[in-house]
């Protein structure tokens, strides 16, 4: 009864079932009468719409014209964009100084592009963002006064971070260095608050000062979105970890905050930040409106990011936590070395989805009188000389938004592949 395989195993090629482009067409588009008719009708309709659009947007378009009157009866009035693009991009920023927001936008783009390369993900990134952010805001404000309190605060922050990150692994001399830095910052701040140190600041003032209420257009959208998400991300991570904490107080605070923020619309949060917050502050103190909007965006985005990251944390098998525990890693090491690197990888797609959403949602700052890119575009329509061409302006705005959002989406795709190299199970 024994049945034993004889000779060598035959090595066969897989069967060929679709031969070239013609085969593909037949299989996918013309497999039946119904399919064939649907294909022909759809191709016809799409072709017709496309032809009409090209006719309007390119062939019959008016590229330059003194006023909107000359556009009437023709196709797209790109002359309007040509006339207003400086306002759409830079808002009410003083006209002859608009090279400053332009350079600021380029600086931010450069920072973003540099940090998108995985080989740059190390301490260099801190320098890039430190120097780049300083340049961006120096260009936008024109003058920055670095107060002694800020310097001390940065020393305390850097020292604290150094102690936390390097405390376990650095040489004693290095760790003592971080401790000394933190101590200088802490003691200095106490002396400053008690009035022993005078209020001194280092003025850096190469340009004219431009207040935030004159800012507008693309730099505003980019600053709100970039710095909003930059701060919301670590904040969201802390909230997500806090929500899974075993300490009831921390857990309660995080749950309460997340649910509270998620339960209200961003608009109401912005209005609260702009109208109600000043009522609670002692009279005489003001916080810049732009800063208030920025903080509102950070708080709002943080709550959403926290929930996404919590999903990633929950997707990890319990064994990963146990293996890290069994090795004797402490909570901080376990979280930063084992848990977060895996959890964040899992949530890249929903995270980028949220980032894209927030990039566009920053337009809601219109409600408190800040002019981001979409709002300056909208404002360009108010000019009576150019009334009646909303389609062109919104199409242009949509195109610029698309460039940003599509880049983010493609980058997310690249990142997923890059981070999963070799680790796919």
């Amino acid at each position: 009864m024994a049945d034993v395989a004889q000779g060598e195993r035959r090595q066969l090629a897989p069967p060929v079932n679709d031969a070239g482009a013609f085969g593909w067409l037949r299989k996918n588009l013309f497999s039946s009468w119904g399919n064939a008719i649907t294909t022909i009708v759809l191709v016809g309709a799409i072709g017709w719409i496309l032809a009409r659009f090209i006719d309007w947007a390119v062939i019959n378009a008016v590229w330059t014209a003194p006023t909107g009157q000359d556009c009437r009866g023709h196709g797209a009035c790109w002359a309007l964009i040509h006339e207003k693009y400086r306002y759409i991009f830079f808002g009410s920023f003083p006209y002859e100084q608009q090279w400053r927001p332009l350079l600021a936008v380029i600086t931010m783009l450069a920072m973003l592009i540099l940090s998108s390369d995985r080989r740059m993900w190390n301490a260099r990134l801190l320098w890039i963002w430190g120097v780049g952010s300083f340049l961006t805001f120096l260009l936008m404000f024109g003058q920055i006064h670095i107060s002694i309190s800020l310097i001390l605060f940065v020393a305390l922050g850097a020292g604290g971070l150094g102690m936390l990150m390097r405390g376990g692994v650095g040489t004693p001399a290095e760790v003592n260095g971080w401790r000394a830095l933190a101590a200088i910052g802490a003691v200095g701040l106490i002396l400053r608050v008690t009035g022993v140190l005078p209020a001194w600041s280092l003025p850096i003032a190469p340009f004219d000062y431009v207040e935030t209420h004159l800012w507008g257009g693309l730099p505003v959208t980019m600053i709100l979105a970039t710095y909003g998400l930059l701060f919301a991300f670590p904040y969201g991570i802390l909230l997500a970890l806090g929500r899974r904490s075993h300490l009831p107080l921390i857990k309660g605070l995080c749950v309460g905050f997340i649910e509270l923020i998620r339960g209200v619309p961003l608009i109401s949060l912005l209005i609260m930040a702009s109208v109600m917050l000043p009522l609670f502050l002692p009279s005489g103190t003001t916080i810049d409106k732009f800063l208030r909007a920025q903080v509102a965006v950070i708080l709002f985005a943080g709550a959403y990011i926290a929930e996404i990251i919590r999903g990633g944390l929950q997707s990890l098998p319990k064994g990963q936590f146990e293996a890290a525990d069994a090795m004797g890693l402490n909570y901080f090491q376990k979280t930063t070395l084992i848990i977060l690197p895996q959890a964040l990888r899992v949530v890249i797609p929903p995270l980028i989805n949220t980032f894209i959403g927030f990039f566009k949602d920053t337009s809601l700052v219109l409600i408190i009188g800040i002019f981001d890119f979409l709002n300056t575009a909208n404002q360009a329509l108010v000019d009576p000389n150019w009334a009646g061409f909303p389609g062109e302006v919104y199409l242009f705005a949509a195109f610029v938004y698309f460039c940003f959002c599509f880049s983010m989406s493609r980058y997310a795709k690249y990142l997923e592949v890059e981070l999963n190299k070799g680790t796919r199970r």
Binding site: G319, Q320, Q333, L337, Q342
Partner: protein
Amino acid sequence: MATAAQELSKAPSVITLKGVNKWYGQFHVLSDINLDVKLGEKIVVCGPSGSGKSTLIRCINRLEEHQQGDIVVDGVMLSNDVKNIEAIRREVGMVFQSFNLFPHLTILDNLTLAPIWVKKTPKKDAEEIAMNLLKRVRIPEQALKYPGQLSGGQQQRVAIARALCMRPKIMLFDEPTSALDPEMVKEVLDVMVELAREGMTMICVTHEMGFARAVADRVIFMDRGEIVEQNEPEEFFAHPKNERTKLFLGQILHH
């Protein structure tokens, strides 16, 4: 055999459990456990599913918390003090049923992580120790691959090497071969037998009775949260005394 047993009885205790009790809600998962493990002793724990054998060894390194009784490991009493727990975990290596390698790190990084961060070993030394251990488990050529690229048996051998990297005094094995394809069980058991011959103190939860016969100084049978019977392997397999032990051995040995 007798001399080996005498030698063991003179060795110092490294793990002592006294009157340990644990409940999951109303379920009494560990019932009055008393256990004394000598330095260099190899113990195999067996028993039906749900008998508390995994819970028992997971209490030893505080992956599970016991509610009553004392557990002393290497002279340190387990308590809620994080310092004590971390001190014990440094001395106790653990190997899991599902390997639990870190999938985002290479094999080498999996091995050097704990020595570098917990023991503050310089990276170079840690890598040297890791490579030596990978040679011992016979997969040094896989050092730069990721866990997902290895077979189950290879992954479990890496997991053993990873635990050994911390130079632990005690190794806990929680059903190390249960998740493996049959043809890979031997390669993992071979490594464990070698480790046992070198004198490592081991507690293994396993149903590999051949392994128990070959290396165990003592076999413990657990059922319904209590230690029902324990004996030297020959006696244990040849003349089980308790009815439940007989039933269990009958079920796993005759099929």
